[in-house]
Subunit: 508 residues, 3 copies
Amino acid sequence: MPSLLSLSLSLLLLFNGCLARQSSEQQFQFQNECQINRLNSIEPTSRIRSEAGTTEWWNPNSQQLRCAGVSVMRQNVEPNGLVLPYFTNAPQLIYIVQGRGIQGTVLPGCAETFQESQQGQEQGQKSRRRFQDQHQKIRRFRQGDMIALPAGVVHWFYNDGNERLVTVNLLHTANSDNQLDNNPRRFSLAGNPEEEQRRLRRFAQQQIQGSRSESESEEMEDEDEEEQDNRPSRKQSGSRHEQQSSSCNNLLCAFDQEFLAQAFNVDTSLIRRLQEVRGHKGSIIRVRGRLDVVSPPTMEEEEREERQQEQRYRQRHPSGRDNGLEETFCAMRLKENIADPERADIFNPQAGRLSTLNRYNLPILNALGLSAERGVLYNRAGTVPQWCINAHKILYMLKGSARIQVVNENGDTVFDDNVEQGQLLTVPQNFAFLKRAGSEGAEWVSFFTNSEAANTPLAGRVSAIRALPEEVVAASYQISREDARKVKFNNQDTFFFTSSRSERRDQA
Amino acid sequence: MPSLLSLSLSLLLLFNGCLARQSSEQQFQFQNECQINRLNSIEPTSRIRSEAGTTEWWNPNSQQLRCAGVSVMRQNVEPNGLVLPYFTNAPQLIYIVQGRGIQGTVLPGCAETFQESQQGQEQGQKSRRRFQDQHQKIRRFRQGDMIALPAGVVHWFYNDGNERLVTVNLLHTANSDNQLDNNPRRFSLAGNPEEEQRRLRRFAQQQIQGSRSESESEEMEDEDEEEQDNRPSRKQSGSRHEQQSSSCNNLLCAFDQEFLAQAFNVDTSLIRRLQEVRGHKGSIIRVRGRLDVVSPPTMEEEEREERQQEQRYRQRHPSGRDNGLEETFCAMRLKENIADPERADIFNPQAGRLSTLNRYNLPILNALGLSAERGVLYNRAGTVPQWCINAHKILYMLKGSARIQVVNENGDTVFDDNVEQGQLLTVPQNFAFLKRAGSEGAEWVSFFTNSEAANTPLAGRVSAIRALPEEVVAASYQISREDARKVKFNNQDTFFFTSSRSERRDQA
Amino acid sequence: MPSLLSLSLSLLLLFNGCLARQSSEQQFQFQNECQINRLNSIEPTSRIRSEAGTTEWWNPNSQQLRCAGVSVMRQNVEPNGLVLPYFTNAPQLIYIVQGRGIQGTVLPGCAETFQESQQGQEQGQKSRRRFQDQHQKIRRFRQGDMIALPAGVVHWFYNDGNERLVTVNLLHTANSDNQLDNNPRRFSLAGNPEEEQRRLRRFAQQQIQGSRSESESEEMEDEDEEEQDNRPSRKQSGSRHEQQSSSCNNLLCAFDQEFLAQAFNVDTSLIRRLQEVRGHKGSIIRVRGRLDVVSPPTMEEEEREERQQEQRYRQRHPSGRDNGLEETFCAMRLKENIADPERADIFNPQAGRLSTLNRYNLPILNALGLSAERGVLYNRAGTVPQWCINAHKILYMLKGSARIQVVNENGDTVFDDNVEQGQLLTVPQNFAFLKRAGSEGAEWVSFFTNSEAANTPLAGRVSAIRALPEEVVAASYQISREDARKVKFNNQDTFFFTSSRSERRDQA
């Protein structure tokens, strides 16, 4: 009975498949998501094109991003491009990799403090002269700025410069401010961001099915496939939801026209125009003409004013523990430039520099539970081995490349490779790591999942080794006290090392 | 070989069953519990009868309640009914839908500040005259009160009025004060609440088995089925645990009589009477005669005193961040009436009113991480589309009905239906929603999973749209600046809209 | 066709196996980890031998430890033994069961405040006279001390006494300071702790596979089995990683020699010596000669100084809410002796005493979210039935034994047995429990997963029963008011009861 045998074999194979599938899923099942034996530097896995730019998402199901509880996206906005107003279910840190622009953040309960005289801007149009628009504060930003945004808060970006605007956005989905689940969500107030929504839905389904890519080395895919997810049918699938021409996927579209007309106190015909989104423009549109909003004060004026407010606030709240939603919040500083070399917190003319951003120098980070660092390493210089005691570190390489080694609790090297420009690498909390720049140096920005991330270096002037008594070092490593002294004191630098010095020693 | 074929087919079917079961469970497996494509207004699914009332539980495994991390129950207490002392593993907000009564909350470490002269109450019984009972504070409550209770804290309720007392209790099981799991637990100090315990155990098992009802539209079931759960056999299943007559399921019963006699320093015969619970009276018993406790001061006196204490406390702790367990906690206000029209925070004589309760006006909510709102809408008026930026909203309809629309991040309407009196609807964090009352108006109470829930309206005087520059509105929706101005400024109201005004406009 | 039948049967059995395996896993799947029907007192399940001591781990997958979110280990350190510097991914509370020693904790960013003159210590060695070592603070400790350590912070222990040093270490893996997963991790800075790492990896894999021992009564196993875990192959498996002789598993070993030479600014030959760990000495080594570090001030001097600093700090931060990482942190008190009878918070000369340690008397516990208690019961005395309202309690029996009863929300006795010296028992949050010492008394230490754990007794002077009005007690238990009064007032003691008194009554 050969067929019986073959049947039994095939069934057993099926069975093994069943069990195998089970056990591959088990990695996920218990949220044991930081059992990391192998890391990879990762790139975005999907690119969504909009009229005036692209949005690229890293796969949020990659093991390292799930361990860190974050999602990351990169936006490219062409000159004159407007990122339509949206909010996310997680606090964001947005780093301006390149370009400049203006940005608005809608803080709930805050007043419209910017008054805009039509006269000044549209000369000759006498009929509008008397009307003054008013709206919430607008902020300028430029390359090197880090912008902090709370969860659930509407914001928009406009590229008013002449070059592409590039941003890297970190969403901390594991943050306690996000009471939904670990999936990144983008709620759009305008436009038809259907491709992006489809992509995010697919990520969420993949996560449910546990089919994350083990290799984490997927090819970038452009979003042109057929959608197959089981989306509920729309209630009002009438005239304004034609499959071919255009559809409306923003928050406004799903509400009843009649109710919206009453809520906005306008004609239903105007509501119909609001809900009728023409073309597949996505979440970044090109503004016809230019966006002519009231010119915010110069960067310097604005920052000076904000810092003064901050200081006044701190004098009234010496404990430093505000909740991020009080009234002064309305005038709170939401950004700081961390690229300026003069701002560096740690600087070594031979090796590089580090700028840190945390709840002490940008108080809103206290409410967000996030911090950041921007670093520069010169040719073949490095940062000493160290670990972050209280946060995951998500590093994005801005320029050049660096060889990075990451070591887990077993003393295993889980990563030992170059991270190139545009790549991302997560170093889980407590994992030790070391960076050495390539011959063209390295510049990076790192995000931390704690508002005051603290790193302990293994070597150098503020290191753990140096904090140990010489005798303990000697006994622990079974070396002489003389050698222990060298290990403790030879590197007088903080966080950095240079190749030249050591090469000199080796040759000596 | 037809039988072989049929065998193989049946095995394949079995296999598919295995896989299917797996994938249906996966929805649960990863706690992806807020991937909500469809909401329903829900009603309690089980009713437990006690001697002097009923307890109704909503199924805590319904997707919306699991997403929000809450459990909800409704209590009906007949006049002269006593809810026996119990505590829960989660902080509670209790809204008094109807009726009045007195209530005691046992705050650990607080003194017995109420002295009760027996003389005043039981005239003629000279033998007891000298003895004065003393106990912790007792509070009066009435319709419209919201009562806040920390986790693990004993409390009892007594209906001393002439009508039924109806309460809706929200248990925030996802609260960080609950270090057990997401299952609601009720620890009883007295009585034999076996039916309720059986029902809660069954909910917990359903949750383990992942067999939540997808439709969430189960029929109410009265608790008369056979129990099939695998409860451990009782140690002392002797004389006082007869299957038929009565059993004792409260915390006292399980301890050894001898030990209890020593702990209470009383005879074992008295312990035996404590542990011997007669009849199946459940968790709400009828008091013989009336419960003759010391009369608390009038509501007004009590509230005035508590507010004064609160103010003194705040002057000493200007940061507003107490931990809820300090000494002043003993005299802390635990309730506030939010039904009184004069208390409304937002009021529109044409549309309705809103009363909010949060950590600013009831400081204990700071420790509990919860807040609430009571709203009234008149005939066919509505609240503007909005979303809560930092909390889930659990709405219970008190009176009348309202059509509610809820929109998720994809711009899909996940709910568009009427919510009727006695029904519950969860609006997940960041989901946009809109309410319009039916022709008889609507009254509701909403619970929020944050001590300072903040809503952002899309329309009206404090809306996100109004905070955007006119040019951004015009560009985002591809409408003229004139239309943008209308959308921004036409509704001068806060949170409300009325049907009449819009109808006028439409006809004009 | 008998073979067909047998095939079908065997496949069905396989299938049932598949389903059964699924359903046994489901207990885990939903992190429903506190559905506890049965508790056991547990002992360590694995013992790892090092050169100068042993490390014993309780299985962190035991249901009670997973419910509590903790891992527990016990260290035995021989005289002159050094616990090599390491850190963990979770905050630790370390109780000194026996012995004394010195200890160093490396607080990041803190200065090396201890200067060590070589002259004083190594007389005659003139060549080294000029050099002074400097390092961070060293602390003495002795039996009865509780030491608190933040996550990610390096520390070492040295037994400078004449008897074995025994410590019980609680790791709170569920703490929010641990952003990895629930597995305990030990990051070693020196030595070759391979056996311990292998054991911890196996625990983590067991947890993934869901194969926790239901009985929780595993035999202690010594670590001599073959390792079968799929560890990634080491990058540099060259000369210094010989399978037979010795291997290096600490954080330093995995980094590139050349990079480390640059980072420490020393020759690669010295790095090679650092990375070359000789012998299988594990994580506790024997120091040749004695460890001759600078002598810390006497315990009394040190403690007085630290308390003064603490008081100065509190005067500046009256809110009591520091974040544990500010500058004064460097001089913060990390330990307190809770064995001293004079320190007892509650004392009854007939029954015993209790010493509590929480955020009010050891402020660093505020940052760690942990607290502790040390208790003593004399011959056959007991603590009254009670529950902890806001924390899990993990009890370790130091001496003697006690009969403990634990009751869950259903009124079921989930534990009723003796806990003997060296055993551990978890009492989940809100579960009621009672202790009665055996004829030789009992001494224990309990850890709590909250920085201000609060217990509510059911009987005695500060009990829940006493806080209830007499009439409520009478109605609830259906007893007379006279009996209610006895139940409320007869035990005038706080937390304790004695057997004698009750026996007297019973006989009376």
